[in-house]
Each structure stands twice: as C-alpha cells, then as structure tokens.
C-alpha cells in the first residue's frame, strides 16, 4: 500500500472517529466514543481512557453494567448501574461514596463494551503524529517559511485545541441539579409493643447510620421522665418506657405522650419527637363457658374494686327465680394489656356476675349472666 493511501485511510479513520463522537450525542447512533474525564469510576476507568459504547437497544443493560447516560447534548456520564427504581435507573461511580440522583431510563444511551486505556491510545496517537511530522518535515518547514500569516495560524491552532477539548469533554449541564446527594432519614413506623413497656421506632436511612442513643426522654403533660433505648437493628430504635409513664398519663387524664430521642449518627445527630396516642378504654367483658373473661386494653392495670356473683336457681314448675347464694369477691387487678379469667362455680341454674372499677375517675359497672346448663 502506498504512503498516500495510508495517509488517506488515516485521515478518513480520524474523521470517522470525530464524527462518531459528535453524532452519537446528537442523535441515535449505534456506536459511541467517549473520553473519561474524571476519577469517579477509578480504578475501573481512568481519566483519558477511551470508552466504546454500543446503543442500549442493541446490547441491553442491567445491574452492574457500565453505561453512558446523557442528561443533555453536552452532559454525559459514564457510571455503573446499581439498581432500577420503577422508571428510574440508579447509577454510581465506582469511586463515589454515593449514588447519583435517580435518572430516567431514557437518559441511558449506551452500554460500555470496550475500554481503551489512555496509556494505549494516547502514545499510539502521539507516535502516529510524530511519524507523520518526521515524514513530512520538509513540507512542513517549507509551509511555515512560506506562510506569511503566522499570527492567523497560531490563532487557528488554538481555536482547534478549544473545539477539540469541548467536543471531547462533557460540559457540566446547567440544569443538572444535585451534585452531592444529601444524607437523610425518615420515620417509617412507630408502635407500642405489648404490654406497653417498649416502643419500636423504625427509620428509612439514606447514607446515614445510627451509632448510639445520646438521650431519651418521655414527656407526659408537663412532666419529663428519663427513659432508656437501644438499637436492635441498623434502622430501628427501641425505647424502653418506664412503668410510671402510663400511670402518670392516666392520673393526668391525658390521651398522649411524647418520646424525645437524640440519636448520634455517623454524620451528625437527630433530635426526634414522636407523639403517641393512648386511649383509655373500658375492660372487655365476655362469658366463656362458666367463666367471665376480663380483658384490659389499657397500658395500666385496672383494679376491680368490687365483684359480686349472684347464683340463681329456677323452678320450672312454679317458674320462680330464686337467689341461691351471693358471693362477694375480693378486689383483684387485671394487668395492662392482659386478660383475667374469673371462674364461677356451677350453683343453681345461672349466675349474675357484677364488677365495678374506676376508669378516668368514673365508676364503671359491668354485669353478665352465666348460664350453667
């Protein structure tokens, strides 16, 4: 092959490469060439590396693939896909501590299929250019000597340098907002665990982790009670509620209390204040066979101050109901969030069980009939 042919082929190849670079950003093109300009993918990709991408419709892409995504004609990024989120794709630079902001799937253009290290292609270009200059040195010297507009030549050379750099390097797009993703955390749920001595608080953490509990207080009305807490899992906190909390709330007649927690995080701290509603309800009273079952839905024990069982017999012939026996029982306590079963002896045909207790300062009277037959 003659030298002229080689020169022509080289020129065509260079022009084609440049066309690829420029056109693939402007329109659909099966192949894309990009030059890595930062360290975000280090050590997988280094600045100056040439990446060859094939259009996503040709190759497809998945989690773990390195893709080229462009948010504008001028701003493209070469990062690795970490996960998919509905219509969004999450990407991250291998060397970045944080993920990029979610990007629409349409932004992803190419999947990187080949990486040409800068250590390979830059020296190759340099050697080729040097060989060309050496080969053509006489012509170049004659050209420079004969060229009167040196100043114009200088100007043109610098313009070409500028254009080349701008064409090769993505310019930061003005509308791409977050550069650094803020760490954050959100409350996902809070619940009182039976029988009320523990409160489970769950969080959703973004680039944060809970290190320790710096403080814990429970505010009932205008009174503060110190509490303790621990971290059962990386994203939750358990607050140990002091027993007097509910009693105090009951005594004060309030329907809620606040938990104030101060968490030490790896990147700062959180001051959280969570209101918890408490409802003061009557005991659940039901008959189960010859027993009376009392269930306490409250977080405080309920003291049954008075309990009486009235046994009644029934004479079918005379159709007369007659009180056989009346038993007054000792007062007893139904524990918080607990049940108490009152066994009633089978005497007569049926019995009436009456209980009395105080709830929020009011006396509650409950009576149930238990049939023995």
């Amino acid at each position: 092959m003659s030298y002229k042919s080689v020169r022509k082929i080289t020129l065509v190849v260079v022009l084609l490469l440049l066309t690829f670079i420029l056109l693939s950003r402007l329109m659909y093109f099966p192949v894309n060439l990009s030059i890595v300009s930062g360290y975000s993918m280090y050590p997988t990709l280094r600045p100056g590396d040439l990446v060859v991408g094939l259009h996503k419709e040709i190759t497809g892409y998945g989690v773990g693939d390195v893709v080229v995504w462009c948010s504008s004609l001028t701003y493209c990024t070469v990062h690795r896909v970490t996960r998919f989120m509905d219509a969004y794709v999450m990407t991250k630079g291998d060397n970045n501590p944080l993920e990029d902001p979610p990007i629409p799937e349409s932004y992803v253009k190419y999947k990187v299929v080949l990486v040409v290290p800068s250590i390979a292609w830059l020296p190759a270009c340099f050697i080729l250019a040097s060989l060309y200059l050496i080969k053509e040195r006489k012509k170049i010297v004659m050209f420079v000597r004969g060229f009167t507009g040196v100043e114009l030549l200088v100007f043109l050379v610098f313009i070409i340098i500028n254009i080349t750099l701008i064409a090769l390097v993505p310019i930061y797009h003005f509308t791409t907002e977050p550069v650094i993703t803020k760490p954050s955390m959100y409350l996902t749920s809070i619940e009182i665990l039976d029988p009320g001595s523990l409160i489970l608080v769950r969080y959703r953490l973004q680039y944060l982790s809970i290190i320790s509990i710096a403080g814990c207080l429970i505010e009932v009305g205008d009174q503060l009670i110190k509490c303790s807490a621990y971290i059962p899992t990386s994203d939750s906190v358990i607050i140990v509620v002091p027993p007097e909390t509910y009693t105090l709330a009951y005594e004060k007649g309030v329907n809620s209390f606040k938990t104030l927690v101060n968490l030490t995080l790896d990147k700062g701290f959180l001051v959280g204040s969570y209101s918890l509603h408490i409802s003061w309800n009557r005991l659940g009273v039901s008959v189960n066979g010859s027993s009376l079952v009392l269930s306490n839905p409250n977080y405080i024990p309920i003291n049954i101050t008075y309990a009486k069982v009235t046994y009644v017999s029934y004479d079918k012939e005379s159709r007369i109901h007659k009180v056989v026996q009346v038993d007054e029982l000792k007062s007893f306590v139904v524990g918080p969030r607990n049940t108490y079963t009152l066994l009633v002896e089978s005497k007569g045909e049926y019995a009436y069980v009456m209980i009395k207790y105080l709830l929020m300062g009011e006396e509650v009277v409950e009576q149930r009939r238990i049939d023995f037959s």
């Binding site: 300009s37 930062g38 360290y39 975000s40 280090y42 600045p47 990024t77 630079g93 060397n95 970045n96 501590p97 944080l98 040196v150 100043e151 114009l152 030549l153 200088v154 100007f155 610098f158 313009i159 340098i161 500028n162 750099l165 701008i166 090769l168 390097v169 993505p170 310019i171 930061y172 003005f174 791409t176 907002e177 977050p178 550069v179 650094i180 803020k182 760490p183 954050s184 955390m185 959100y186 409350l187 969080y203 944060l208 927690v261 995080l265 790896d266 990147k267 700062g268 701290f269 959180l270 001051v271 959280g272 204040s273 969570y274």
Partner: protein, 215 residues
C-alpha cells in the same frame, strides 16, 4: 531612514520589550489562576478547588465531581496558551536583545493575543457559569427537618482564596487580556508599518539603481 521611520523604530523597540514582558507576565498570571486554589470549602465538605485540580471530601470520604473534572480538562487549553505566551515572550525578547529579526516573534505574540481574547471567553464561561454553578451546590446546609425529626448534619461554606479568588473577577481578567491584545496589536501594526517603509525604501533603491521610473 527617514525621521518618521526612526521614531517608529524607537517606539517599536520599546513596544516589543513591553509586549514580550507582558506576554510572559500574562502567561504566568494565567498559570497562577489555573493552578492556585481559587476556592476553599469548609464544613462537611472540605477541600479546595483550582481550575486544573480539586480535592474534596464529604464527611471525610473523597468525592470526585465529574463536572469539576470536566473543568480541569478544559483548563488544559488555558495552560497550553499560558505556556505558549511565556515561550513566545521569552523568544521575542531573546531575538530582540540578540539583534536578530524579531518581527516573527511579534507575529507569534499577536497570534497569542488573538487566541487569548477567545480564551478569555472560555475562561470567563468556565469560571462565571460552570464553576460558580457547581460552587453554589457545594455551599449548602445538610440540616433538615424530616418525619424522623430534626437532622443536624452540618453545612459547608465556600470562601474565595486571596488573592487568586479576587483576580477571577471577569473585569480583571478581561482588562488584563485586553491590555495584552492592545499592546500585541499595536506592536504588530508598527512592524507592518516598518515593513511597508522598508519595502518603499527597497523599491526606491531599486528605482535609483536600475533607473526605474514610477508612473
């Protein structure tokens, strides 16, 4: 040599020294602006930002911002121009003081001046648009109120370095470059005028020698 020509030569000699020296100064000034940290970031984001390089950490972990890396890449052209200005300045001074023909040097200087003018646009775009846009996103407070409560995660503050940060004013950059372009252009015009004089002298010499009579 006519009196006018002598005055021109004297002025040109002064201008060449001035423009060459200014070219070296401008090159050094541009290298200084490109290499020296222009902004210092303090707080949860720590580090510095120079046009050619940046080093930032977020909560102690190094952060690489592609946008800033892009700025660094584009700054390479500024470095090339700076080196060019220094070298042509020195070369022209050398040609001048060694008594050789320095007109080539003046032309190179003028070419550099024209390039500097276009580069000033790139430079100002880099600084005022791209860099300031990125910086506005680095100067932020991470404190926030969410459903979890009040998060105190710190903030970051950006401050300009002294004096590099102050030189970044578009007016300063534009004036410094325009002064250079002015000197380079005037020197170039003087060279052109003198070459015209020289040509005229040569043609009149040839006219006398060979008896050529102009129409």
């Amino acid at each position: 040599m006519s009196r006018e020509e002598l005055i021109l030569v004297r002025r040109l000699r002064k201008l060449v020294v001035l423009t060459s020296a200014y070219s070296v100064f401008l090159g050094l000034f541009m290298i200084y602006l490109v290499v020296t940290p222009l902004y210092v970031v303090e707080g949860v984001i720590k580090g510095y930002i120079a046009l050619i390089h940046h080093e930032l950490t977020l909560y102690g972990t190094p952060v690489v911002l592609d946008a800033l890396s892009g700025v660094s890449f584009l700054s390479i052209s500024l470095l090339i121009l700076s080196i060019y200005l220094i070298l042509t300045g020195i070369l022209t001074l050398y040609l001048f003081f060694s008594g050789r023909d320095f007109s080539v040097g003046v032309r190179w200087l003028f070419g550099g001046g024209l390039s500097a003018l276009t580069f000033s646009g790139l430079f100002l775009a880099l600084v005022s648009r791209v860099l300031s846009r990125i910086l506005s996103q680095l100067s932020l407070s991470f404190d926030q109120v969410t459903s979890a409560g009040t998060l105190y995660l710190g903030s970051s503050k950006i401050s300009e370095t002294y004096p590099a940060g102050y030189f970044l004013s578009p007016l300063v950059v534009l004036i410094v470059i325009l002064v250079y372009v002015f000197f380079a252009a005037v020197t170039y015009l003087y060279v052109m005028m003198l070459s015209e004089y020289k040509l005229a002298r040569q043609s009149s010499y040839r006219g006398i020698k060979y008896g050529i009579v102009g129409s």
